[in-house]
């Protein structure tokens, strides 16, 4: 059952009042129409997972989508990984739930951080993301736009090892290389190696370092002021919990009389979906149940638009240099303010400044007089 509270609160409630019925126009059914159409069209989502090998990325993805994407995976030996380069591997699956179809693409980055020399090991990843943007840009600018495939990466889960004291240089460099191209959600991997105190300390430390290094991770949108208190409380808890400390499991164990996904140890059973054990449920709810579409929106509206604007600027600057070249894509030419207008603007600015100063002076004088 989806906990999509926001959506539910907007369904029009038919009242008994006949007066209201007469004045009822009917566009309140729009949400229903949108719902229906979107179910028909189906959704797509591209999720990237990045982090050193052995952080539990595959296990977590399997746990998130309750499926087994990595059936015949071959892992490399330590020797083979000494000089390994990063690969990009896509797994695409079609999954369906209650009539809603989702085309899920998981982009894997095996080899990241595994070699002895990891200089610029994130370059294949940034290149891949840029390629998807470029492809979409071309498609969007083409003549026939009926069936554009959106392969842009909507979200990147970055797995931070729980063994250290915080972010390591490779973590910082990776996130800084990607934070303006994709929504980064940092996760603390294999959180069953940390006691609750240690988790809190590590989360605080990671948040501090993300601030310190100016890394722009994905921010949950502020909830509307007209939402109910329960929702606001949940939202607040969610935000304070980042980065999520997650545990994944491919196996089902018996705990407290139920069959659950978990990890069996001699000293106890870690339940993946137990909120007091880890933040898996919060991650799943956030990623799939409430913010999936927002992640897509931010990718389209912010990251892609930044890429597009940058691309166009580069093109127009090249065009300006060579008048013979025609624009390869249909774009409206940016109106560059001519030199005269700019001068005028500057002059007016300065005038304003001067007047402001005079005003301040006069105010000061008056103030002194009063004293």
């Amino acid at each position: 059952m989806t906990s999509n509270i926001r959506y539910k609160s907007r369904i029009p409630v038919k009242t008994e009042d006949s007066m209201e019925e007469k004045q009822y126009v009917g566009f309140a059914t729009l949400p229903n129409q949108v719902h229906r159409k979107s179910v028909k069209k189906g959704f797509d989502f591209t999720l990237m997972v990045a982090g050193e090998s052995g952080m539990g990325k595959s296990t977590l993805v399997n746990s998130l989508f309750l499926t087994d994407l990595y059936k015949d995976r071959k892992l490399l030996n330590a020797e083979e990984r000494i000089n390994q380069t990063v690969e990009i591997i896509k797994h695409t699956v079609d999954i369906e739930e209650k009539g809603v179809k989702l085309k899920l693409t998981i982009v894997d980055t095996p080899g990241f951080g595994d070699a002895v020399n990891n200089n610029e090991c994130w370059k294949p990843i940034t290149d891949y993301i840029d390629q998807q943007f470029e492809q979409y840009f071309r498609d969007e600018s083409g003549l026939n736009r009926k069936n554009i495939q959106d392969n842009r990466v909507h979200c990147c889960l970055y797995f931070i090892p729980p063994f250290g004291h915080g972010l390591r240089p490779v973590d910082v460099e990776f996130m800084k290389a990607l934070h303006e191209k994709v929504n980064i959600i940092p996760l603390i991997a294999k959180a069953d190696c940390l006691t609750p105190n240690e988790i809190k300390k590590l989360k605080d430390r990671v948040r501090e370092e993300i601030d310190k290094f100016g890394i722009k991770v994905y921010q949950f949108p502020e909830c509307d002021s007209d939402e109910d208190e329960e929702f606001k409380q949940l939202d607040k808890e969610l935000k304070e919990c980042t980065p999520f400390a997650v545990i994944g499991s491919n196996t089902v164990v018996e705990a407290r009389g139920q069959r659950v996904r978990g990890r069996l140890y001699p000293w106890g059973i870690v339940e993946v979906e137990n909120q007091s054990h880890c933040d898996f449920v919060k991650l799943r709810n956030m990623l799939i149940r409430s913010h999936m579409h927002d992640l897509k929106d931010v990718t389209c509206d912010v990251h892609y638009e930044n890429y597009r604007a940058q691309c166009i600027q580069e093109m127009t600057s090249k065009l300006a240099q060579d008048n013979r070249m025609e624009s390869p894509i249909p774009i409206l030419p940016l109106s560059t303010p001519d030199v005269d207008t700019e001068k005028l603007i500057k002059m007016k600015d300065e005038e304003l400044k001067r007047m402001q100063e005079m005003l301040n002076k006069m105010q000061q004088q008056m103030h002194d007089k009063d004293q």
């Binding site: 030996n77 020797e79 990984r81 915080g166 294999k190 190696c193 140890y265 106890g268």
Partner: protein, 418 residues
């Protein structure tokens, strides 16, 4: 005829004793001497920042060694040795723990192993220097050679990291390595079994030599053999105490259970402590001295030019080698002296030549000046003569005028008088 070393060809004979002589106390004498001397043990902990090296040391020795948390942002790897004096009943232990700070944090880790290898070699070198001294005091020497390297493997559950393989390969000929799986409470039992097998097979297939607990001594061969099969040890460290049942034990408390450090079904901590401290500590010291150090020493001396046999394959006496080296050295010294002397002589000649040149120049200048002076004098003389002539001419004229003027006014006077 005796051969070079003078050993007589004798067969060993076993004799039986008629009574209790008492030399069976020799081991006790040895023990009592070593207890008085005190023991020394040096542990090197290699592992990435935050993997639990300090916590494990605290847990092993049941104490709190001072330690600040290391940062992930070191520019390189550096080694931090700390020495502590511990005592248990009447046994004194001088324990040195060497930490690898910054290991595994850099983006480019190609040179990460170098500071570690350099540190181990330096300790060997220091010992070698002491051994080669004329006046040496080995019994007093603080032995800093590393007796054991604990290599901390991250519990990824898959296999070794590439850095682990590269580093262990560089270290295995210089130090005894015991690989351990750190923070093992994140690996479940079934995963652990597979993980251990994978690690050991990777080590074997890459020819990495790790320390094997010795099985030649009957007293401990059985336990050592069984422990060898449990490598790498999966350890969990903790200095915090948790109440379990009616006991307080060192453990880690999770929402889903309590991991007890000294519970053998939870982790291999007890095995590690047993092997490292209680059973094989002395063997590790011996291995370091008899194997790793000897290898280093042999390589070093060969580099310096020492050999055990001369070109004719006769055993070289150390004395002859010393003589040869000394001659070489003296010859070198003489040659250098000659060079310096020659250089000095050349310099003196040069300076002399310069001075001579300068002298000549000065002399020339002097001559020139003299000539100028003469010239001036002559000119002045000429002028004087001219002047004198003028003066004479003037005087004559003057006189002529005077005589003329004298005679004339006389006439006038005469006229007046008349």
């Amino acid at each position: 005829k005796l051969n070079a070393v003078g050993r007589a060809n004798e067969e060993k004979r076993n004799l039986s004793l008629g009574g209790h002589v008492g030399f069976d106390s020799l081991p006790d004498q040895l023990v009592s001497k070593s207890v008085t001397q005190g023991f020394c043990f040096n542990i090197l902990c290699v592992g990435e920042t935050g993997i639990g090296k300090s916590t494990l040391m605290n847990t092993l020795f049941n104490t709190m060694f001072e330690n600040e948390e290391a940062s992930h942002y070191q520019n390189g790897v550096y080694l931090r040795p700390r020495t502590y004096d511990l005592q248990e009943s009447n046994v004194h232990l001088k324990l040195t723990i060497v930490d690898t700070v910054g290991f595994g944090d850099q983006i480019n880790k190609e040179d990460s192993y170098k500071p570690i290898v350099d540190y181990i070699d330096t300790q060997f070198e220091n010992y070698l220097q002491e051994e080669l001294k004329i006046k040496r005091s080995l019994f007093n020497y603080h032995d800093t050679r590393i007796h054991i390297c604990l290599y901390f493997i991250a519990p990824t559950g898959h296999s070794l990291k590439s850095l682990d393989l590269v580093t262990m390969k560089k270290l295995d000929s210089k130090v005894s390595i015991i690989p351990i799986i750190a923070k093992a409470d994140t690996v479940s039992k079934s995963e652990l079994h597979k993980f251990k097998i994978k690690i050991m097979s990777e080590l074997v297939s890459n020819g990495v030599q790790i320390y094997q607990f010795p099985t030649d001594d009957e007293a401990v061969s059985e336990i050592n053999a069984s422990m060898n099969a449990h490598l790498p040890f999966a350890v969990v460290g903790s200095v915090e105490e948790v109440k379990v049942g009616n006991k307080t034990v060192r453990a880690r408390q999770y929402p889903w259970g309590v991991v007890q450090v000294e519970n053998e079904s939870h982790c291999d901590f007890v095995k590690l402590r047993e092997m490292l401290i209680r059973v094989n500590m002395e063997d590790l010291r011996e291995q370091t001295h008899a194997r790793h150090y000897e290898l280093y020493r042999r390589c070093k001396l060969e580099e310096m030019g020492f050999k055990d046999t001369d070109p004719d394959s006769q055993p070289f006496s150390l004395q002859e080698t010393y003589e040869a080296k000394r001659k070489e050295f003296l010859g070198d010294l003489q040659r250098k002296e000659e060079e310096m002397r020659q250089m000095f002589v050349n310099k003196v000649k040069e300076t002399e030549a310069e001075l001579k040149e300068k002298e000549r120049e000065l002399h020339e200048k002097f001559e020139q000046l003299k000539r100028m002076h003469q010239e001036e004098k002559r000119k002045v003389e000429e002028k004087r003569r001219d002047l004198e002539e003028e003066m004479n001419a003037f005087n004559r004229k003057k006189m002529a005028v005077e005589t003329l003027s004298l005679s004339q006014p006389l006439k006038k006077d005469k006229d007046k008088k008349k």
